[in-house]
Amino acid sequence: MRTEHLWKIYPQDPRPVEAVRGVDLTVWRGEFVAMAGPSGSGKTTMLNLVGGLTRPTRGKVWIEGEEISALSDRRLADLRMHRIGFVFQSYNLLPVLSALENAEFTLLLQGVPAAERRGRVRELFREIGLEGLEDRRPPKLSGGQQQRVAVARAVLGDPALVLADEPTANLDSHTAEALLDVMERLNRTKGTTFVFSTHDPRVMERARRLIRLVDGQIESDHAESG
């Protein structure tokens, strides 16, 4: 994933908001990256741009070598379905679907046959401690469980990149640690690339690379040891 001179300006009264201001960033396959910064620093906007949910005002975004800012809405939707996984701060599971149905949603969109979908979901659920919760609807799951289902949904489609916007912000610290464990393990075992935003110092510590965003610009970019 790579961005070049990336700008996002929201036209707004009284004057436009420059949410992202000329970001050049490259994330390599298999990285585990945290994007940190105070509220309003442009983290969510960055993830929106990289995930193809909004179009940049200026600049370019490449996902696995494909430049996406000029793609049609339809192609963008396809790209999201096949290459990108999302995890949202407020879980955003579909409330009418069971945990299993939520987790397999991307696979279903990709056209993976039912039996294979189910198999993959069950296997992953076992791995991340969701076994036995397959048939529960989101309202009957704890926040931590919901977010693990969301992570499952994001990684099951074998995306090039999983984007997580403050995934632990609604979780207590213990549950947050557990979720990060899951993400870290998936990153290690499956090689899934993770980019997540946070303003929680304890979460930043877990990242292997920490990018600090201030006022829509990269202030610092450090690879952590270990």
Binding site: N48, L53, A77, Q89, S90, P95, L109
Partner: protein
Amino acid sequence: MARRDNDIWWRMAWRNLWRNRRRTAITASALSFGFVAAVLMIALMDGMLEQLVSNGTRVITGQVQIHADDYRPERSMHDTMGGREGLDLAALVGAAGSVEGVTGVAPRAYGGGLISSGDETAGAVLMGIDPRREEGVSRFGTSFVVGGMPGPGEIAIGNAMAGTIGTAPGEEVVVVAPAADGSMGNELFTVSGIFRLGMGGFDDAYVLVELGSLQDLMAMDRSRIHEVAISVDRADQADGVAARVEEAVAGLADSLVVEPWSVFHEQLYFMTSMMGAANAIVAMIIFGMAIFGVANTMLLATFERRREFAVARSLGTSARSIVRIVVCEGLFLGLVSLGAGALLAAPVVVYFHEFPLDLSSFIGTYSFMGSAMQPLMTVEYSWDGPLVSAVALIGTGVASALYPAWRAIRVPPADALASR
């Protein structure tokens, strides 16, 4: 998208429908009551139209008539069925009578003449009838004030004309009429009875003569008649019966025309068509309002689920699939309402079929286009009304979902990440 997985959208639609049970229950009840109302309204309207047509046709004309093709509109006495030779009357009556849906067949001949009693004379339409066969088609037989139907050599006169010329049953009248051979027929008839149909233009102008006697008076063979009036068991099926009668009698004479009441009773047909159209417009307005109301409710539901649509879109769900979820929800709402509506409608229809609404205490009986109407709202069993209403109901569900669906696909996927 693999085809076999399309059921997920149906599943989501169905579950979405039951998320707000109260709202769905209210909307579905409103729709099912609308369905019941529509079914009942159509049934009552059908009953009313049937009554109107029946009253307009059961007094004299019948619902289907056979003539020689050049008989109407001049009604010349020369234009008898089968031309000057006439036709095999018994075969004709038999053929028409054996057609499915036919309940009565009455042959008739017409002439014009003068009736005199003492010094008084009046012009009259002479109607030659078979008294026994008329029972199955017209109401002459039951409309006698005094006396009864004419036998050979007898004549029945309307009460208005009887008053004019001053005659009574048992007395004799002279009838003078131009005959088919150019001579002047002239005969003495005994008055068999005085009838009163209660229709203007009839009681003061028509007289009934036994068919053979009229043919003799007019120097016509017994094989020559002008009209066969036919009654059917359901007035709204007259077109089909007419077509079958036409087939059945085709071989008996050249150029016979068989017409249903909608052709020879144009005014009545126009009236009933107008009423039917007005009915349809009212129904459309009702369902239009329903669409508006349901669309509003669904729009609300769609709005509440903005984020879910955004999430689904952000994961790569196509606009088509989103539309499918919302439209299916509308479809399911229609189906659920239909199920409830059918359960409700059945006993209501049965009730009104068994116990027709009697409005005579409100409005009394009334006369319409020359026919006496009973203010009795009857409901006949029929699939037409329920089917039309069912289609309209499901159409309402689907149509109501279209705008909300369009709104749903306009939700930007980026809203998924927007903080609350």
